[in-house]
């Protein structure tokens, strides 16, 4: 069950990792008019035909999840954005990558809460398949960027719990200082 925008972010980025993306960029942009998330990857991409089926809840890529016949991530996201006066757009090219962009209208009562940004970013940055992941968070006047390669250069192995704790502290300080 998805209850927060960060849950959708986690899901879309995980799709990118599963498509063998090595360079992924996530941008969360908050303005008075819209809350927009853009996830760009250089994974294997989708053909026109796959793009048509991707929003169908009863379709999933063959062999991606053994024993599972449904692929609910993007279809739930599509439903949620429609409900909250936003939209979901997909752009993809086989062998080049995919861009998923979704927006929510902050004024709509059906817009989900933002969720736990710090834990979500930490989870994504520590993912073993994350490659060179860059996460940008922007408000109208402020923002910060997290570059996984740069952070590994400072902290070392992100799978170590002590380093992960420091990473969380770092992200929390960036988030708390946002105006």
């Amino acid at each position: 069950m998805h209850i927060a925008i960060t849950d959708y972010v986690l899901e879309v980025v995980q799709n990118a990792f599963e498509a063998n993306s090595t360079e992924t960029r996530v941008v969360l942009q908050e303005t008075a008019e819209a809350f927009a998330v853009t996830v760009t990857d250089n994974g294997k991409g989708m053909s026109e035909e796959v793009m048509k089926r991707v929003l169908d809840p009863f379709s999933t890529e063959e062999g991606k999840h053994p024993h599972r016949k449904v692929g609910l991530g993007l279809s739930f996201l599509n439903q949620a954005t429609e409900l909250a006066g936003g939209e979901l757009t997909l752009r993809s090219e086989v062998g080049v990558g995919t861009t998923v962009r979704f927006t929510f209208d902050p004024a709509s009562i059906d817009t989900p809460p933002l969720g736990d940004v710090v834990s979500t970013f930490m989870t994504l940055l520590a993912h073993p398949k994350a490659g060179s992941l860059v996460i940008e968070r922007k408000t109208e006047t402020d923002g910060y960027a997290l570059d996984r390669k740069e952070l590994i250069g400072v902290l070392g192995d992100l799978e170590m719990s002590g380093n992960l704790h420091l990473l969380k502290e770092y992200i929390a300080s960036q988030e708390a200082a946002l105006s």
Partner: protein, 134 residues
């Protein structure tokens, strides 16, 4: 909270490097595993953990890794601590408060003698490897 820069993060890591190294198991043959399930924490496992950290510091012991795990299934004798040393049987100690933690370091780790009055269990033979999980 003030916004941290990458340089500050690097400094913070350097400051905490020693504490991080105590948790690292790389190149260490001895392990102290502290049961930090809710039962353990309620019974004072956090104090046990910090006592182990400070005693290892005091005694300048570098070859022991301290890690934590969940409940070991001996909730009635929490806080529980497993000590794995080469050439000694793996042992689970129970009711390990700060004083017992000091005793374990002095007698078991340095003296190579089991602290028999706090020994509660050895891991069941069917779930450990022949070499005692080392």
């Amino acid at each position: 909270m003030a916004k941290m820069t990458l340089e500050e993060l690097r400094k913070l890591r350097e400051e905490k490097q020693e504490a991080l190294e105590k948790r690292s198991i790389e190149g260490k043959d001895c392990r102290i595993i502290i049961g930090m399930g809710t039962c353990g924490i309620a019974a004072g496992a956090k104090e046990t953990l910090s006592t182990f950290l400070s005693v290892l510091d005091e005694e300048k012991i570098k070859h022991v890794a301290i890690t934590q795990t969940g409940c070991m299934g001996l909730c009635y004798v929490e806080p529980t601590v497993e000590v794995i040393l080469p050439d000694m049987p793996p042992v689970i100690y129970g009711k390990v408060d700060a004083d017992v933690a000091r005793k374990i370091v002095k007698e078991h780790i340095l003296g190579k003698r089991l602290v028999t009055d706090h020994m509660f269990d050895r891991p069941a033979a069917d779930i450990i490897k022949q070499d005692g999980g080392r």
